[in-house]
Each structure stands twice: as C-alpha cells, then as structure tokens.
C-alpha cells in the first residue's frame, strides 16, 4: 500500500517537474529579450536538479545527489557569467 503511494507520487512529481522544464524551455526559446532567456535557463537548471533528486529517491541510490549538487554549482556560475556579460559586454574584464 505505502509503496504504491510513493510510486504514484514519484510519477506525478516527475511529470510536474518535466512540465515545469517545458515552461522554462518555452521562455528560453521565445523570450523577447536576452534577460528573459537567461531567466529561462536559470529556471531550467533548477528544475533539472529537482528532477534528478526525484530520480535518486526512485532508484534509492545517492549517485544522483552528486549530479544534482554539480548542476547547482555550475548553473550558478553560468548564470552569473551570463548576467555579467549582459551588463558589461564581456565576462572577464
């Protein structure tokens, strides 16, 4: 009983997170200006990180946790670099 509840909740959570990623990709592809695309990319990687955490719960291995941590670290750096580029026109002055 309890195992099936958790299975269904995992499926529903993964579907919701995948739809959230689709919304972020829409803003990434469509966004009228460059800053909209950066926000879309930021949302996309946070949603992907949460999806990896749900995969970790499903498979019961902690391998996915490390991938999620790497995505969180690298995504922050990528967004800061893109914002710096929008501000100044170059990343490292």
């Amino acid at each position: 009983m309890s195992a099936t509840v958790l299975d269904w909740a995992l499926v529903a959570a993964q579907v919701l997170l995948a739809l959230a990623m689709v919304c972020a990709v829409f803003r990434l592809a469509r966004g009228p200006r460059a800053q909209d695309r950066v926000i879309g990319l930021d949302t996309l990687y946070v949603n992907a990180m949460l999806l990896l955490l749900t995969f970790g719960i499903r498979t019961g291995s902690s391998l996915y946790f490390e991938a999620a941590l790497a995505i969180a670290l690298l995504g922050f750096v990528a967004t800061v670099a893109l914002a710096k580029f929008l501000m100044r026109g170059e990343v490292i002055e």
Binding site: L6, L16, C23, I39, V46, L50, T79, M87
Partner: protein, 103 residues
Amino acid sequence: MNALPDWAAWLTALLLLLGAGITFIGSLGLVRLRKFYDRVHAPTLGTTLGTLNIVLASMIYFSITEARPVLHEILIAIFVTVTTPITLLLIVRAAVFRDQLGK
C-alpha cells in the same frame, strides 16, 4: 535497506507532490506573466519552497531506508538558497542597465 513504514511513505509522497507542484506553478508564472520584472519573481517559488520540500522528502526517505541520519542533501538547499538572490540581483541590474541604454 529497511522497509519504509506507512507514515514515512505518505510524508515523502506529500512533500514530493508539494515541492513539484510549487515548482510547476513558479515555472508556469514564467510563461504567463507579461513584463520581465514580473517574470523574474515567479521561478523563485521553485528555488525556495520547491527545493526545500523535495530535499526534505529525500532526506526523510534515505534516513529511514538506511537507518541512519542522511543529511547531505541539506547542502543543495543551503547552496540554492544562498545563490538565488545573487543571480536575480545581477540579472535585474543588467536588465535595468539595458533598459536605460535602450532609451
């Protein structure tokens, strides 16, 4: 690996659904809101409450199945909470700068 008791399964399922639902609402706001300065605020639902709920679900699940406190997921929550305001501040500053430049 221990079996998951009923209350832990229900709690994990509830936290997972709550976190994923809040994240989805935040991303939907990214599509639906009209202005850029409105849209900036929507995804922070996912980076604060959504991340917190899913990380809590993961911590509860692994702590019970492995019968020891598994707390390393808190790193993700701390890191995302610290970095989200910084990225948003930088992006909005860049957007304000570009808007002034365009006028």
